[in-house]
């Protein structure tokens, strides 16, 4: 069986999520990585070294620079005849692209898989992770997005796969990239951080988030937020952890001033250790927390900061 894995990158660096997807892909068959982008040969180099990767296809063209689905989908469709599986991380890039590919191939797409039972049977969360569905695909080619937190990362070094340059497709002429407003942070990336500290509505204002940043600095953690905090404009959208935001599963998740709506729990309940700090003892977050502190966060967080300095 052969698997084509769509690499996530920014034309310079391979995103670490790709390493988790390789683990899933390698259980399905021989892994070829597709690097589509512009001026992205360094990414192809990095991809060729990933453990378990046997080949890298490099499609280097201006029209792939920003990963527009209208341009990238035909590339995957053109390559699909040589593969049994097309996989990508269940990131916003993968979610944008893979359904388009599946529709062009007239097959179903299997979203956000968390386990592989066999070559055609996969487990995926539904209802915000309140139920797990085991689904069997009858399609000749399986188009899949992978929940990266559900699979370990492979070693980024170990292989020396061949890199084959492939010719691109034509510009679909349907869309163009205008610009981006990316959140710049010194912190580790939310979805791959070992420790995450998130703030909710209880933070009261975006001006209080530096308190969490300070803790994050001390712990080498990433900072996240609940939907309520994002909707209130405390922090940007890419901080959101939950059913419709990012899914995280760090070693330690610290929820500060988060009540724990099921939509938020969907994004963090697979964390190894959960700490909840909330002044409302009835907050549902306490039901899934390993350690609960019923305290005003404006007392608890400075204390935590001081305690970590000891």
């Amino acid at each position: 069986m052969s698997v084509l894995l769509f690499a996530e990158h920014d034309n310079t660096e391979l995103k670490s999520a790709t390493l988790n997807v390789v683990t899933a892909a390698a259980t399905l068959g021989e892994v070829t990585i597709l690097v589509a982008g512009s001026g992205c040969s360094a990414v192809a180099e990095a991809a060729s070294k990933i453990t378990s990767v046997t080949k890298v296809l490099l499609a280097d063209a201006e029209i792939y620079a920003h990963g527009l689905a209208e341009n990238v989908a035909p590339l995957l469709v053109g390559l699909s005849k040589d593969f049994d599986y097309l996989v990508a991380p269940a990131s916003t890039t993968g979610k944008n692209l893979m359904p388009r590919v599946a529709a062009l191939l007239d097959v179903a797409q299997i979203s956000d898989i968390t386990a592989i039972e066999s070559g055609d049977t996969f487990v995926r969360p539904i209802y915000a992770g309140n139920a797990m569905a085991t689904v069997q695909s009858s399609d000749p080619i399986k188009v899949i997005t992978v929940r990266t937190t559900a699979f370990e990362a492979v070693a980024p070094e170990g292989a020396s796969a061949v890199i084959e340059e492939i010719s691109g497709t034509a510009d679909a002429g349907k869309s163009s990239f205008l610009g981006e407003d990316l959140t710049v942070s010194e912190r580790p990336e939310l979805t791959s951080a070992k420790i995450v500290i998130s703030g909710g509505r209880g933070m009261q204002s975006g001006e209080n988030f530096p308190m969490l940043e300070q803790i994050a600095e001390k712990l080498g953690a990433a900072v996240g937020a609940s939907r309520a905090a994002v909707d209130a404009g405390f922090v940007p959208n890419d901080y959101q952890v939950g059913q419709t935001g990012k899914v995280v599963a760090p070693e330690l998740y610290i929820a500060v001033g988060i009540s724990g709506a099921i939509q938020h729990l969907a994004g963090m309940k697979d964390s190894k250790v959960i700490v909840a700090i909330n002044k409302d003892e009835e907050a549902p977050i306490f039901q899934i927390a390993d350690y609960g502190l019923c305290m005003d966060l404006f007392d608890a967080v400075p204390q935590l900061s001081a305690e970590l300095d000891k």
């Binding site: 692209l97 599946a102 797409q109 309140n130 085991t134 959208n237 390993d290 350690y291 609960g292």
Partner: protein, 249 residues
């Protein structure tokens, strides 16, 4: 501009879903059902386009059992002009839904189709992208800001590392994210008025679309539950336990 919005009837977002004991799915009998929250945002955006004069007609489409008519009525009460129900008892997958919507687009020729980015029941996040592919249109997914200029759509998208803005040729398919707008509530007079608005009913067969599922659901189970933790009295105790008991810091 003619705008089509797709609306889905789902288990209300406040309901704690329960897995059926025979593992065939989740309990939906005697459970509150509502319009998928993302679809409310799609309807609202369509209404705002109408109110700004950019759109002249807003059609709400739903696919599902006869009860999906209630979901269409909700869209009509919010202000949509008319509805289309594709009635089927099959649990149609996103691929099938996209095919049905494509057939309706063929009949109605809208300039714009707006959908929620995902339904909160199956959490697939596929239908809009699939529809766009089948129509060979542009796609703007996870949209949090939308502006029309020079006959094109300028869409700001919520992506993993922030925001991205793309320019889309028309016609286009958009899927909307949470921050695009705040959906309105239907007023009582509008709920009454909505009862008189027309809903066209058809079946997948009428549209010559095969909606046979491609995925066989073998079982649906509850996820593993977390064991209850402990309540602590002090930050000192917390840090002590994180260091020595959980060993995570």
């Amino acid at each position: 501009m003619k705008v089509l919005v797709a609306v889905k009837r789902v288990v209300d977002y406040n309901v704690n879903v329960r897995v059926k004991s025979d593992q065939t799915g989740v309990e939906t009998t005697n459970v509150k059902m509502s319009m998928n929250p993302f679809d409310e945002i799609a309807v609202e955006e369509g209404l705002r386009l109408k109110e700004s004069g950019a759109a002249d007609e807003l059609i709400a489409v739903s696919i599902g059992s006869g009860q999906s008519q209630e979901t269409i009525r909700t869209a009509l009460a919010m202000g949509a002009d008319r509805g289309i129900l594709v009635e089927t008892d099959v649990a149609v997958e996103p691929l099938g839904v996209a095919k049905l919507l494509k057939a309706i687009v063929g009949k109605e020729s809208p300039d714009l189709v707006i959908l929620g980015k995902q339904a909160i029941d199956d959490d697939s996040n596929q239908t809009g992208q699939m529809l766009s592919a089948m129509l060979d249109w542009s796609q703007g997914t996870f949209v949090s800001k939308l502006v029309f200029e020079d006959g094109k759509a300028r869409a700001t998208r919520e992506v993993d590392c922030g925001l991205e803005t793309v320019l889309l040729e028309m016609p286009t398919v958009l899927t909307v994210d949470l921050r695009l707008n705040e959906p309105r509530y239907a007023s009582l007079p509008n709920i009454m008025k909505a009862k008189k608005k027309p809903i066209d009913t058809m079946t997948p067969d009428d549209l010559s679309v095969d909606v046979t599922p491609r995925l066989n659901i073998l079982k649906v189970v509850q996820p593993p539950t977390r064991s209850t933790g402990v309540m602590l009295d002090s930050v000192t105790d917390l840090v002590h336990r994180l260091k020595n008991e959980a060993k995570v810091i």
